[in-house]
Point group: C2
Chain length 503, copies 2
Amino acid sequence: MSFQKTEQEFLQYVKKMMNYEEALALMFWDMRTGAPKKGIDQRSEVIGTLSTEVFNMSTSDTMKQFIDELDNEEARQVLSEITVKTLEDCKKEYERNEKIPEVEYKEFVMLQSKAESVWEEAKDKSDFEMFRPYLEKLVEFKKKFIGYWGYEGNKYNTLLDMYEPGVTVEQIDKVFGQLRDEIVPLVERISKSSNQPNTSFLFEHFTQEKQREFCLNALEQMDYDFEAGRLDVTVHPFAITLNPGDVRITTKYDEQDFRTAVFGTIHEGGHALYEQNISKDLVGTPLCDGTSMGIHESQSLFWENFVGRNKGFWKKNYNVLKQYAGGQFDKVELEDYYRAINESKPSLIRIEADELTYPLHIMVRYELEKALFNDEIEVKDLPTLWNDKMEEYLGVRPDNDAQGILQDVHWSGGDFGYFPSYALGYIYAAQFKNAMVKEIANFDELLELGELQPIREWLSSNIHQYGKMKKPLEILNDVTGEGLNAEHLITYLKEKYEAIYQL
Amino acid sequence: MSFQKTEQEFLQYVKKMMNYEEALALMFWDMRTGAPKKGIDQRSEVIGTLSTEVFNMSTSDTMKQFIDELDNEEARQVLSEITVKTLEDCKKEYERNEKIPEVEYKEFVMLQSKAESVWEEAKDKSDFEMFRPYLEKLVEFKKKFIGYWGYEGNKYNTLLDMYEPGVTVEQIDKVFGQLRDEIVPLVERISKSSNQPNTSFLFEHFTQEKQREFCLNALEQMDYDFEAGRLDVTVHPFAITLNPGDVRITTKYDEQDFRTAVFGTIHEGGHALYEQNISKDLVGTPLCDGTSMGIHESQSLFWENFVGRNKGFWKKNYNVLKQYAGGQFDKVELEDYYRAINESKPSLIRIEADELTYPLHIMVRYELEKALFNDEIEVKDLPTLWNDKMEEYLGVRPDNDAQGILQDVHWSGGDFGYFPSYALGYIYAAQFKNAMVKEIANFDELLELGELQPIREWLSSNIHQYGKMKKPLEILNDVTGEGLNAEHLITYLKEKYEAIYQL
């Protein structure tokens, strides 16, 4: 058969998988935004049927044949670039799945689903011992899988590669170390500062309806396309892509703390802008997706922190906010409002942490995961080690497992190697920002005017459009001319927080 | 292989198809309730992929093998009743599709989709000639298909069988004739009555929000389970089943005419009650569905007309309505309100017709379809024939094609034989009502109290629970001890309208 003919068949095959993925995404969205609860059990079966189908297709003999026929120099002469990269992606997936004995994979999947419900209960009861045997088995499985998959340099690299391809322990150790060396003393100086912001006015009643209106307004400024998306309410906010013409976001509202919805919406909006602006040429391939968890997070954090927590952004938007709020800000100056929403304080829970202390939460997890998969520590010792690290980095120590080792869902799903992406995204974001202001010299002015479209466009043309056509470090280098570099984030944090706390 | 083993495999296979159908239903619902418009093109591809998959499975060699192995006396000895009926259903579908040459089927599907968009434009322009060539081809195709499928007695029977299995032209001619003989003179007498109801107060402003609250209240009285459903807004209202634990309804609101939402919601609610109460044992099989279009319509019409347009129902609910409305009913007596919502007047548009004249609209379509497929008339003559029949039955004549022959979407999709089910449903509903009051002697009292649960339960235990386990006429006979019988509907209409118009 000619390469072109096989290419067409391969693309059709992949498109079918992607179409199934879209149906799955809609079911996921629907279950979280209002599907009637009595339909959930049967719905889970539908999700099971479709995911199994996609998994089977990704590891089928047909897929193997496509790889065998197209993954060679001769074929690459005639294949389109999109096909070559799609094939690369499918091959990686195929090999990853194919190396694991089927029976072990099934056991692992069953363990995952069981472990998640045990974790939920254990967290409710703040009882790590209850969850421990499951976590031990999950770690054991993943270690065995690393054995099958192989590794380079450090065993943990194989896990990192699933979320942040190309980034290694060596690189992360370096940037996380630099960050920690600067943030830890900065956090200490802040806690000793006599110049703490007043935050009392933040917690007054602000109706959900009015918060929603403000959020919609902010999304519009960000150039989120409402003809290609919608905003709904869920317990855990998320952004989800059905296709680039349908990228939905959700948020949650706390009527006693508007920050939850406002910064949450801007954050998810940043994720959504990425996916709305991936090139349409990539639709129907696995390349029509963010290139890594870290680059994705760089987009949400860019908007949440570098835009949403920037003083310039509030020059216009503080007045907008006042129009929607019920008078709580009437006697509060912009400067005091700005300081209040940027209050920094060591705390126990990652998802509630401020932008300065957040990376330290990630480092705690990274250090523990890395040690775990290099057999330097054991699961049973995790709670104490966690608490020790929290004390060392943040100066606070959890009283119980719910506020410590059990707080995150990730491990219960066997997701090890994911956490670093959160902090990497932050580092990337600062690097992107640094590159952006060289080209958009009036960045601050645009924020003050609420004219964010040029910023969105810069991100789209430099990052979004490529989807998975470029690897994370390739994008980083193309945009910034640098590799991973923590300096820009450090400079940003120091300048900002020294000013706010007048250090 | 043992029958039991094949049975299990067969049920698994069918379940997979049904799971795909659920995903399709969700996509359908989502596209109508708020999917972002820029995602629609790609969404259509997903729908195409999944429907093709289901169609292929229903006509596959695997399906043929199941039928060959299980469709015999020996196998039926050991198969469950559900399996036997599922197999019957699958076989019917298999044979129907298998008899049509693949290339003709594809041409027909392409024609359908083209014809629907041409019809839309033709209707806008009120130009039958524009639509005529498409309608001619659609009729030609269906005639050819009847040739492949074969027929008994009358060619039109084969079309009827797709929507109302077991019901024939002979039966319909009889009941429709009886109905027409009674309704046509009754409609004439009404139009001459000097005692017309005053309806002016119906058309005052009634906010969407308050209408929705009333509708939710009515659904709750009907025993619609909100943990297994939800109410949304769409341009064209519908009820849709994802699974019996998730049966959603939609409605539309006209702030100048609350009747649209109120009677529309009760109507769709009636459909939904059917599907919410199908036995859980049938989930995952094609039997978990209404047994025919007519029986389905009997449920919606029962609630809309025999409950919703009943004076008893408004004894309590008129006061409820007044609480939500903005004062428009303050000076209107219950009796006058009741007469107003039951105003009967010949009109041109089927979907806007009242309950008395509605069956006449159906008969016009039935007569024309029957004549068409028996080669007694030609497509080109339809507009004039339509107008003549409207004049004969209803005493009104359309000025143009948009208000006549082009008003319904059905034919543009090649759906011939569907219309009779609307009127059959009405006849069934009256028969069910007649049987019900023999067992629920205090029917009127329950309506007056708004205690509708016993009514819903009676319908569920006599009709809903069986899904497709019983054929329409089998249900009818089991519940009423009769075959198709128009007398009950005739008695109901005569008594009701003679009273309202004091004839």
